[in-house]
């Protein structure tokens, strides 16, 4: 990880055997996110993005720029769980759900506008990989990853 320079745009993709509605629910409702998103209880509505930790500490609070269920969600990102990261500029997260043949959807997450948040950029890069893989496991097997 030492040689990796912070990226201003990061793109992640995963195919998930689930409907667009199921994926949308899993992204927007806290009872789902706490099972794959580092335990964060995240609520995404047209009004805003709110992420809470296990003791209701605020891990993320941003505006929602686009809310188009079950296809597209765009919200701000500020890592409030870490003071050093929280001090950086707000970045942006875009979720895109594209249904494919055979009851499968392609989920794309783009985390960009990271120019003013280099520490956040290197901190979240491994995180998105874990989160999306965990989301896939949860939706395809009905179980979160153990441990």
């Amino acid at each position: 990880m030492t040689t990796m320079t912070a990226q201003t745009t990061q793109v992640y993709q995963v195919f998930i055997k689930a409907s667009a509605d199921e994926i949308w629910e899993a992204i927007c409702k806290p009872e789902f996110t706490e099972r794959y998103f580092y335990g964060a209880r995240i609520t995404n509505t047209a009004e805003g993005h709110l992420g809470l930790g296990p003791n209701d500490e605020v891990w993320g609070r941003s505006e929602v720029a686009e809310f188009d269920p079950p296809r597209r969600l765009v919200h701000g990102w500020r890592s409030l769980y870490d003071p050093e990261l929280a001090a950086e500029d707000e970045s942006r997260v875009t979720w895109e759900i594209e249904p494919q043949d055979g009851g499968i959807c392609l989920l794309t997450v783009v985390h960009d506008r990271l120019e003013g948040a280099p520490k956040t950029a290197s901190s979240v890069s491994g995180g998105w990989m874990m989160i999306l893989s965990g989301l896939k496991t949860l939706l395809e097997t009905g179980r979160p990853l153990v441990g």
């Binding site: 320079t5 990226q7 995963v14 999306l132 990853l145």
Partner: protein, 109 residues
């Protein structure tokens, strides 16, 4: 083309040293164009393009257009998914072994 759980495509893509090298280059600096990757690898554009296509089919590289340029991004999620599937199997086994032990011990008491 939907490589759902298609570990085959991922393993085939990773079986080639040039393609692993391409992934390493993207890990160092993500979002590079074909031209940038070809310069770095001392390889023809066509050669790099061919390898990138295999990586894209396996879901290990995602390309996005931005204006006239096409940028390539390293997508580590399929590798993580293979890992998760296996770890999950081992964890499941350990959990069931523990619960069996518990049942046995409690049954004896």
């Amino acid at each position: 083309m939907c490589p759902v759980d298609d570990g085959d495509l991922v393993f085939k893509a990773l079986a080639d040293p040039t393609r692993r090298h391409l992934l390493d280059r993207l890990f160092e600096r993500d979002g590079r164009t074909l031209t940038e990757l070809a310069e770095d690898l001392d390889m023809t554009r066509f050669g790099v393009m061919k390898h990138l296509r295999v990586l894209e089919e396996a879901g290990l590289v995602v390309s996005r257009r931005s204006g006239r340029e096409k940028h390539h991004f390293l997508n580590p999620v399929p590798i993580r998914s293979i890992h998760d599937r296996w770890i999950d199997k081992y964890t499941e086994h350990r959990v069931s072994a523990l619960s069996e032990l518990k049942t046995q011990l409690e049954g004896r008491a």
